[in-house]
Amino acid sequence: MENAWIIPLFPLLSFLFLIFFGKRLKEASAYIGILLSLASFVYSLLVLFERFSSPTHKAESVWLTIGDVQLTAGFEVNQLNALMLVIVSLVSFLVHTYSKGYMHGDERFHVYYAYLGLFTFAMLGLVLSPNLLQTYIFWELVGLGSFLLIGFYFYKEEAKKAAKKAFIMTRIGDVGLLIGMILLFWQVGSFEYDEIFAAVEAGAVSSTMITLTAILIFIGAVGKSGQFPLHTWLPDAMEGPTPVSALIHAATMVAAGVYLVASLFPLFSASETALLTVAIIGAFTAIFAASIGLVQKDIKRVLAYSTVSQLGYMMLALGSAGYVAGVFHLMTHAFFKALLFLAAGSVIHAVHTQDIEKMGGLWKKLRVTGPLFLIGTLAISGVPLFSGFFSKDEILIAAWANGNTVLFWLAVVAAFFTAFYMFRLFFMVFSGESRSDMKHVKESPSVMTVPMMVLAILAVVAGYVNTPWFGTFLGDWLTEGNPALGHGHIEGPSWIMIVATVVSLLGIFLAWLIYSKRSLSRDWLGASTLYTILYNKYYIDELYELTVLKVTKGLSLILRFIETFIVEGIVKGVSGAVSGLGHLGSRFQSGQIQRYGAVAFVGLAILIVVFAVTGGYLK
């Protein structure tokens, strides 16, 4: 555990090596990426096991000394970090493996692997950070990694735009995080998590300031985790390669926001308002994104909106003081969402389209991907005995126990939507008859299916680490020795579990009626105004286009005017004056020796005249 800092260095090594030597290795660079990510996974696993039996390890050294303030850099292995390390490195390792098949034949194969390494490094570094400043550095690196990977197919106009959008949208959130961070530093005098929590607990920070900083930091998380109103970049990020979507949506980028809120949980829990904000934004995002997901036609977009919605769930859990529920869902979601994305990638790989209207009847053709996708779908829909069921149940109980009935019912409806749209997706893709000409459908190679199988197993069993039936091992462990994080297990009425089950089965049944059995017509849906609104994602993008973008563009036009005419005018004036003077001077330098002589003589004459008139030195 003392050497946990090595974990992020493996992917960094992979990045550096492949950037410099990848061109020569070509597709062999996959092996380097896979091996190094495997190394970091194995090491993370060791750290996790060691963490079970020993206390939190923290090591730091002074990085900068400014006046009396010392900024430190180091790493910390507490329960949350250790768990995240394993999740991130495992998903990253599986994505590395899967990509070997998926990206086969790509011209920039080695660059792709290099970027994957950088992205994984950034996320692992973020997870290990013991202070806000270090977190912020890695936070931005994660943003950079996602930018590079989303824009990987940069020759596609949409990919370029999506990459820029992702970067800029998350930057908006980052500003909030930065301001919050600076405010906290101003109040507490330290970036250290421990010192911040100690100061908050001791009442050294006023309650308004706690609320303000917590909400500002939450804005950063909103940007990164694609919460409303900064969610629009996440679906567009689907332009990247599909394994990258799996990585972004399951383990790295978006998990960073939830992780930030979770790791700063004692700060948030010190302010009722901040928690309520988190819960409301989370619940709203959950139902908002789920409703958009109901009607999308692109297989990856449906999954993207489901991610947004599930992240909303996690935020709702954290905001309802359900620390364990949020982290638990983060973990189970990482597994089943990575599985769903990889399976979707496998489908896309086979049929070369992302439009679910054109798919159908793939169950018979994709004998491996189909059942795996089904497992993921069952898990995310919250069907009993799958992992999603237990974590979602925890969240509902947390929301109920927190006493906010409205948010609770919102979450229940969102769960219904989730089950419905996920099975709509499943039935449209796999059941019925093929809706277009697809002859060359082939199952993916085993390098792609094996990682999916691993994830499928985890998507089923990951829930059993924290169940009301077999003990709440995860919850007890996460909150051990840290009362600020709340109880490891929140008691809730047992009818919640029944309601959740009924709701998800109802959603599945409805989807089956409409999309598989077709006993309910789909037409009345497509014609309604509501459908149009949902299909156009509530026109949020258009709204931003009309408001924020217009204002920004107007502002930039003014600034450009200032730039070209005032700033550049001054610069040109200065440079013109200097070069004019130089020009004048160069006229004297004619090379005509006689002119020099004449000038010297005239000068001498003037001197003599001056001396003669003033009397000179003779006086």
């Binding site: 330098q589 090379g591 005509q592 020796i593 006689q594 002589g597 004449a598 003589f601």
Partner: protein, 104 residues
């Protein structure tokens, strides 16, 4: 014994010097310029000699000095003409306006 006053010598020196200066500054042929410089040196020599006879403290020093100037002038002309010949071989000109390499 002598009725020629000091002012006459000085006037001669001044006139010679001015002719030399004019020639040195205006003539285009480098040989003429060199000759003009010799004129200026000799104008100075006349002054030296004149002052060695009519100065505040008359002594032989001025005349000795004039001899030195002549010797140095001879050496200077030798060097000057040598440079001139080298220049002519290189550039095929003795026009001073065309010799402006220092500008660049």
């Amino acid at each position: 014994m002598s009725s020629v006053p000091l002012s006459a010598y000085l006037a001669l020196g001044l006139i010679l010097f001015c002719i030399g200066l004019y020639g040195a500054l205006t003539k285009k042929n480098i040989i003429i310029v060199l000759i003009s410089i010799e004129l200026m040196l000799n104008a100075a020599n006349i002054n030296l000699v004149a002052f060695s006879k009519f100065g505040v403290m008359p002594s032989i020093t001025g005349q000795i000095f004039a001899l030195f100037v002549m010797a140095v002038a001879a050496a200077e002309v030798a060097v000057g003409v040598a440079i001139l010949i080298a220049l002519y071989r290189n550039r095929n000109t003795v026009n001073i306006d065309e010799v402006n390499t220092l500008k660049h």
